[in-house]
């Protein structure tokens, strides 16, 4: 039963306009009803906001993984690298390694994706022989002096090894994409749920209007 009861102070009387009979109802003031509907939407919005943030993070992670892949495909890095003592005598090679390590370091610092951070750590260690976690302070960077100290830890990477390294990051990217797709489906479902909730309040308004029309008709007759 949908009943609108007019408790207008001017009339100081209660009027009921029944539309349906029998179903249990809860009497709410307009203010109470609005608060109820708003709070239900807010509850849904909290969840939606959480999914939105997660989706944005995943999309950023996918983009960051693509950046790392591009870094490791750039120029001669695509075919691997010389390692250990092979590069220690060549200042140009050392500088190239320092530059690449600093590129990876910048991405590691800026990305919010734990998966990409991990991939950066591996790539950084391969390029520099150093532990990226020692460069947490944003004012620090890799120089050739640090590289000389770690040169024996820099592995030689052949073209197949370079391809494997890039494939591993592509796997990270694919995993993030899959996770983003699942998240997006959930998000779309939540927005549809929200649409239904809003539609229900609209329908409720129509019912209230019909009820009030009934009250007015009762007055006239």
């Amino acid at each position: 039963m949908t009943t609108v009861t007019n408790t207008n102070q001017a009339g100081n009387a209660a009027y009921a306009a029944g539309i349906d009979g029998g179903a249990p109802t809860t009497a709410l003031s307009v203010e109470g009803l609005l608060m109820y509907c708003s709070s239900r939407l807010e509850s849904l919005d909290t969840t939606i906001k959480q999914y939105f943030t997660e989706q944005q993070d995943r999309n950023a992670g996918i983009r960051d993984a693509a950046k790392l892949i591009a870094m490791l495909k750039e120029g001669s890095w695509n075919t691997g690298q010389k390692g250990g003592m092979e590069i220690v005598c060549n200042e140009g090679h050392l500088q190239n390694h320092a530059n690449k390590a600093n590129e990876i370091l910048a991405l590691w610092r800026s990305t919010s994706s734990p998966e990409v951070k991990k991939a950066c750590e591996t790539a950084f260690r391969t390029v520099s022989g150093l532990d990226i976690n020692a460069y947490g302070d944003p004012s620090t960077s890799v120089d050739t002096i640090a590289l000389r100290g770690a040169v024996t830890s820099i592995p030689a990477v052949d073209p197949a090894g370079a391809a494997t390294q890039i494939d591993a990051i592509k796997d990270v990217q694919a995993s993030l994409s899959k996770s983003a797709e699942m998240n997006m489906i959930q998000l779309q479902s939540l927005v549809s749920q929200r649409q239904l909730a809003v539609q229900m309040t609209t329908q409720l308004l129509q019912v209230v209007h019909e009820g009030l029309k009934g009250i007015a008709a009762n007055f006239r007759s």
């Binding site: 009861t5 207008n8 009921a16 009497a27 307009v30 909730a197 809003v198 309040t201 409720l204 308004l205």
Partner: protein, 65 residues
């Protein structure tokens, strides 16, 4: 993947907000009335606002965890 699908969802939420604002405005013009709201409608709203439940996984015996 870009953020475009997210922008579309954001626009949809904005549209829903505008529709809900209209409802709020209309309801507030009704004055001091009390509305008997069907319990089923409130229950429906309640279930719509409930957080999503995690997906059940099927174990090897076909029993749901």
């Amino acid at each position: 993947m870009n953020d475009d699908p997210l922008s579309a969802l954001h626009a949809e939420i904005e549209r829903q907000n505008a529709a809900f604002e209209e409802v709020k405005t209309e309801l507030s013009t009704l004055g001091d009335v009390e509305i008997d709201v069907p319990r089923s409608l409130l229950d429906e709203l309640e279930s719509l606002a409930a957080p999503p439940t995690s997906t059940c996984t099927t174990n090897i015996n076909g029993l749901r965890a």
